[in-house]
Amino acid sequence: MAASPDAAAVQNIREVTEMVASRKLYSAGFITDIEADKVPPGLSEDVIRLISAKKEEPEWLLNFRLKAYRRWLTMTEPEWAHVSYEKVDYQSISYYSQPKSMKDGPKTLDEVDPKLLETYRKLGIPLREQEMLAGVQNVAVDVVFDSVSVGTTFKKKLLEAGVIFCPLSEAVKTHPELVKKYLGSVVPFADNFFAALNTAVFTEGSFVYIPKGTRCPMELSTYFRINERNTGQFERTLIIADEGSHVSYLEGCTAPQRDENQLHAAVVELVALDDAEIKYSTVQNWYPGDEDGRGGIYNFVTKRGDCRGPRSKISWTQVETGSAITWKYPSCILRGDDSVGEFYSVALTNHRQQADTGTKMIHIGKRTKSTIVSKGIAAGRGQQSYRGLVRMLESAEGARNHTQCDSLLIGDQCGAHTFPYTEVRNPSATLEHEATTSKISEDQMFYCRARGIGEEEAVSMIVNGFCKDVFKELPMEFAVEAQKLLAVSLEGAVG
């Protein structure tokens, strides 16, 4: 086991854990006392026991975490991705730091980095939301939403429909049978290095359950999950769409999100039962680091959907413009006959950003169908890789896949790479793969300029056109924001 840096702190954790274990009852006051303690950096079984105790978790969940942790210790960080970065020191991270203190935040917007505010302004974000995003003191998210009473209306409507939408840690208590049945059933605890780490230490995330035959009355968004202010470093999301149900889930927002945590290792699991449909849309705009590649988030995410029932459908749409390093492959396991998997992606890397992203479509059921549309844009010194696997098992009679994978280069110092993998074990399967790499041509630029359109606007217009096939999959208001976001992210890419 890895050693913790601070022996006294470890001793402290041991004592607390033992106290918790001996009491078996967790009074609110006691929890508050613990929260006042600063959990030192470092990862050990004791830290995991502490996290689990703080969350008042049942024993099976603690054991699940520990199993993952023990396996993680034997695993090595993957190096096959086309990215290079300085390795994370896992013993320097504090694995339990919530609730995050507002005391250290800026007092008013005047204290916030003007560059950040300028970006908010360009994206058209209202002032109250700007304060929230910048982490200004005493501006609670619920205040922002309560002022227009969106939050309240929202909760009431969901309740009427029987939809469960709450933090995962809450669901563990209120719907333990569902969590126990589905957690880790799509992404096993030992799936990969980052998923194992997440399983061991996750502290935040969402839980969604859509009952049989229910169409979720509104788009669910992390944006509206009013009881959590910060997105966690190790988020864990679980969405279950029961038979014949339908849900659209939006993750993230277009505003640039700053975070002191460099490593983000989230896990998202989706389960679609018979005839159910899940649409999962992401706009990821974490801090990308500065123009020379200093700072920035490592975004190492495992996202996977299981089309468990016949005729079920899972659709991933992502717009990835942020983070210094992106390592992300939202995937579909097409288990049910006639199930459908989709992956629509726009990934942009500017300056020194690196992205290795794509998908996996695993065809198991008969007549399963998958569509992949990937649009990668590299500017500055950005590096962009598409990595996709289409696997058709022997059982996948009549399965079909269509992959379209396009890269757009802006400037001559960036790079775009394509790594497609295919495995077909059923001769009746159909696979189509189209790939293009293009540059914004001098002809296109001059054409726009000769019509009076300036260089930056022309680039942004051409890039948006390139991404159209993906943007049209996004919910309407998200699509508009995504276009603005691309324009902002491309600033400084020309000239």
Binding site: C448, G452, I462, G465
Partner: protein, 248 residues
């Protein structure tokens, strides 16, 4: 004077193409520039519009009295210069409406005006599209994406009708057009003729000039204007070719 070109020398990749070209255009005039292949006709169009890679080594171009060569291409366009391309490029995924709107608003911004109201704009574009027989459905398609040669040229004229430029430079707009398309394109050009607006028709053939009557015809050869005259000069060229002028 709307456009005044004096002793223009320009080169492309170290090769001098224009060698002391002079041309003056007054408001309301239509000038045809004819000449053999490689004489520098397209170079002249590109130099006026400000394309990168065309280096002006000597001479000047004044547009409404201001030094055109000091301006970026988008500023020239906003000032009222329009280049109709010989080979209009495709911009996949960017709809014709998006491009037109960006172009119109860029010019309005340049003139210190607010953005155009979406409804007014739509009505205006549809009216113009009718003039060049462009189906409204084509407006939502990508710029020149999958357009036939004739459709691309008609689309250039549509942009010109929408933007209402002061100086229209049409670079071999007639090439590759059948007679019906040539008629439509000519009607579009003629519709914009007026006392404040000037046109430069760059062409190989007399054909276009049967539909758009020029006030002046110039022959461009070996990088300069070697002869100027009225419409009758075009007819003479049609009969005799360029050889007699090049030898001169």
């Amino acid at each position: 004077m709307l456009l005044e070109i004096t002793n223009l020398h320009a080169r492309v990749e170290e090769k001098e193409i224009l060698k002391g070209l002079n041309l003056s255009i007054k408001p309301g005039e239509v000038h045809a520039i004819m000449g053999p292949n490689g004489a520098g006709k397209s170079t002249l169009s590109n130099v006026i519009a400000g394309r990168e890679g065309y280096e002006v080594t000597d001479g000047s171009i004044l547009f409404e009295g201001q030094d055109l060569l000091a301006l970026d291409p988008e500023v020239r366009a906003c000032a009222g210069i329009f280049l109709g391309f010989q080979y209009p490029v495709e911009i996949p995924g960017v709809s014709n409406m998006t491009l037109l709107k960006a172009a119109v608003n860029a010019r309005r911004k340049h003139n210190g005006e607010s953005e155009i109201a979406p409804n007014d704009f739509l009505t205006w574009v549809r009216e113009q599209a009718k003039k060049v027989k462009i189906d409204p459905k084509m407006l939502s398609r990508g710029v020149n994406e999958g357009f036939s040669g004739g459709e691309k040229k008609r689309n250039e004229i549509l942009q010109m009708l929408v933007l209402q430029p002061t100086l229209m430079i049409l670079d071999e707009t007639d090439s590759g057009l059948d007679i019906d398309a040539l008629k439509i394109v000519s009607d579009g050009i003629n519709a914009l003729r007026g006392p404040a607006r000037s046109t430069v028709l760059v062409t190989h053939y007399q054909r276009l000039l049967d539909y758009v009557q020029p006030d002046f015809v110039h022959v461009l050869a070996r990088g300069r204007i070697v002869r100027s005259g009225g419409p009758e000069l075009a007819k003479e060229l049609e009969e005799k070719g360029y050889g007699w002028l090049e030898a001169a």
